[in-house]
Amino acid sequence: MADIPEDDKEQSEFDEVLNREEALNPENAEQDFVADAESPEAETTLEGIWQLEFNGHGAELFGILLKNFLLNVLTLGIYYPWAKARQLRYYYGASRINDSDFQFHGTGREMLIGLGKAIVVLVVLDFAYEGILAVIYNDWLLALTGILYAFIFFMLIMIASVGARRYRMSRTSWRGIRFRFLGTFKETIILVSRGWLLSLLSLGLYYPFYLNRFQDYWTSKTTFGNIPFSYDGQGKEVFSIWLKGTLLTLLTLGIYLFWLKANLQRYFWQHTVYGEARINSTLYGGKWLWESLIFLLFVILTLGIGRAWAVVRYKKFYLGTLSLEGKIDLAQIKQSEAEMAGATGEGMADFFDVEM
């Protein structure tokens, strides 16, 4: 029982790293328009390089964080979903590409409902587990229950990851067009379990291939409007990045981990394609580590008060490493008719700390 959740956690942390930026700042969706600002209906094909930017301001964000904090205190935390919605609205609205910003359309109300459902599920499960423990005295049955519990826990994390991404994407828009994540729980669970099993059997050698497959699935099931993203990374290339990174991480007593993560992430970005445009990433370990340290130091030295400014700086840095290059025909993109996702996964993700 003790081992499995740990794996779960590592896994979800890893997935999280893979997806965080993608989900948070739906920059993968950057199809851009170039000319629209000037000529209205005529020019719909965009061609060139567009830098992703974050133009938030520390003072503005500080106001939002402060107000959220106060309201959370006053309402004994019930305001939390609204606070979250507000914060996300700010982050998305400040992220832009080709002069158009992203928007987050989720509401506190739907996130409260999602959170409520997640709480009910978790509480019922916990009671069931405690109840079973109270009546079982057989060691074998106990072990079995533990395994079952760990399994359910794993499923919940998967449901949370997929659900949260479905929710986030369906509430994110750029120029009025929504993103979508069309992945399913079933496919994800099969993909992840298979990946772990093979990684385990191959003593870890399969792991980078699994990462590549996962990235492929996660990316190609994401759409902007009616057109999906695609991923053209190769397992063997991820393998060589991973192998080199792992060896150096061991040699440098873990310091190289940042570079390994950056190299993987950069590879994943650079093989993400939308239409005829490709994402370019200049995320490198050294700079990333530096910015992370600045973030941390700034928050600590200002006793947390400067967090808003630190977040703005970090987001400016991170989004600044991403751009989109190529050609997109806006006229080809239509609003997707796919079903809207509920917020239960998002609520569940709050519990597992799978920050999207």
Partner: protein, 351 residues
């Protein structure tokens, strides 16, 4: 004709936009397309998707997929805000003020009084289970002193002190330990440590402590304390949901101080009520003072703000004045010298 501004209009079905001009009045916004056609969005039908302070004014109209209007010009934002004012401009300062008042009030008065109220409704059987649970948690391997004459003496003390109309069935355990202390637990169990028994100058002195502990039980102080600690931790968890180490430390401090103050109040209450028990039972309450003086010597003195118990000298003073209010009453010895001796020796069987 009112002033117009340039804007972008998205139909919600494609990412392309149309250039339009907009104007706003107190009823809503008017949109004019380049081909000369126009639309009017009534203020009840559109919503502001993004805070006015943050960049362009962004209005959404209709069900999914909504039509969107984006106006970049800050002048429009000002005009828009003037025509369609946001009602809650005073909201934030008011909120901050309320928080500053409500939050400390909640910790200092709200939670204790609510816990006190709730504690009265906790059924006796639950209190007993709770008490036993806490005892077993804190003193799992306690050695209980027991002799027949000692037990008889204890029962005599209890019978004399316990109020007749109480639902509680008090149970006393003498624990073989040098601690000079006694503890009461929810549900009626009281632990007295051998150290206290040995330091007690008389049975009456011990009765003073016992009455104090009995009042903790009768007033549900233990249950109340548990409830308020749980509530405080809950509140605290909510507060530091996304806080850092510093806020956590500060809140821990506030929580601690409030708990300390709170338990001191409970102690003072138990002191005063214990005196009533002694009066009712016709036990010489002056001995309670003697006992407290003994305890005063035992305990290191901390400034009152940092201790769970009121400062002993302050406590003595309060008791003296309370006793002075009831000068005339006839006391009767609570135990025979022999019983008292057998009680004091109750631990000598245990080795």
């Amino acid at each position: 004709m009112s002033k117009t501004w340039k804007a972008q209009y998205f139909d919600g079905r494609t990412p392309t936009h149309r250039n339009v001009t907009v104007s706003s009045d107190t009823r809503g916004v008017r949109i004019k397309f380049e081909d000369g056609t126009g639309r009017f969005w009534h203020k009840a039908d559109f919503r502001l998707q993004q805070d006015l302070q943050q960049g362009p004014v962004r209005l959404e109209y209709g069900d999914f997929p909504p039509e969107t209007l984006v106006v970049d010009d800050p002048e429009f934002a000002m005009n828009f805000a003037k025509n369609l004012p946001n009602r809650n401009r005073l909201f934030t300062p008011l909120l901050a003020l309320l928080t500053v008042i409500i939050f400390p009030a909640l910790i200092y008065w709200g939670i204790p009084s609510v816990s006190g109220l709730f504690a009265r409704f906790v059924p006796l059987s639950i209190e007993q289970q709770l008490g036993q649970y806490v005892i077993d948690e804190i003193f799992p391997n306690r050695l209980i002193c027991e002799t027949v004459p000692g037990r008889q003496a204890l029962e005599k003390l209890l019978a004399r002190l316990a109020p007749a109309d109480s639902d509680y069935e008090f149970k006393l355990e003498i624990i073989d330990s040098d601690l000079v202390n006694a503890l009461a637990f929810p549900g009626g169990k009281i632990l007295i440590f051998r150290g206290l028994l040995e330091k007690s100058p008389s049975a009456e002195a011990l009765s003073g402590v016992l009455a104090h502990e009995m009042q903790h039980v009768l007033q549900h102080h233990g249950t109340e304390n548990l409830l308020s600690q749980t509530a405080l931790s809950g509140l605290f968890k909510l507060l530091v949901g996304e806080a850092n180490a510093l806020t956590e430390t500060i809140f821990q401090g506030v929580k601690m101080l409030s708990l300390l103050r709170y338990t001191r109040e409970l102690e003072t209450e138990a002191d005063a009520l214990a005196l009533q028990l002694l009066l009712q039972a016709k036990v010489d309450s002056a001995e309670m003072l003697t006992m407290f003086r003994v305890l005063q010597k035992q305990s290191p003195s901390l400034p009152e703000s940092f201790s769970t118990h009121p400062d002993m000298s302050a406590r003595l003073k309060r008791l003296e004045s309370l006793i002075a209010e009831n000068p005339k009453f006839v006391s009767e010895p609570i135990l025979s010298p022999q019983s008292w001796k057998s009680l004091q020796n109750i631990c000598q069987i245990v080795n």
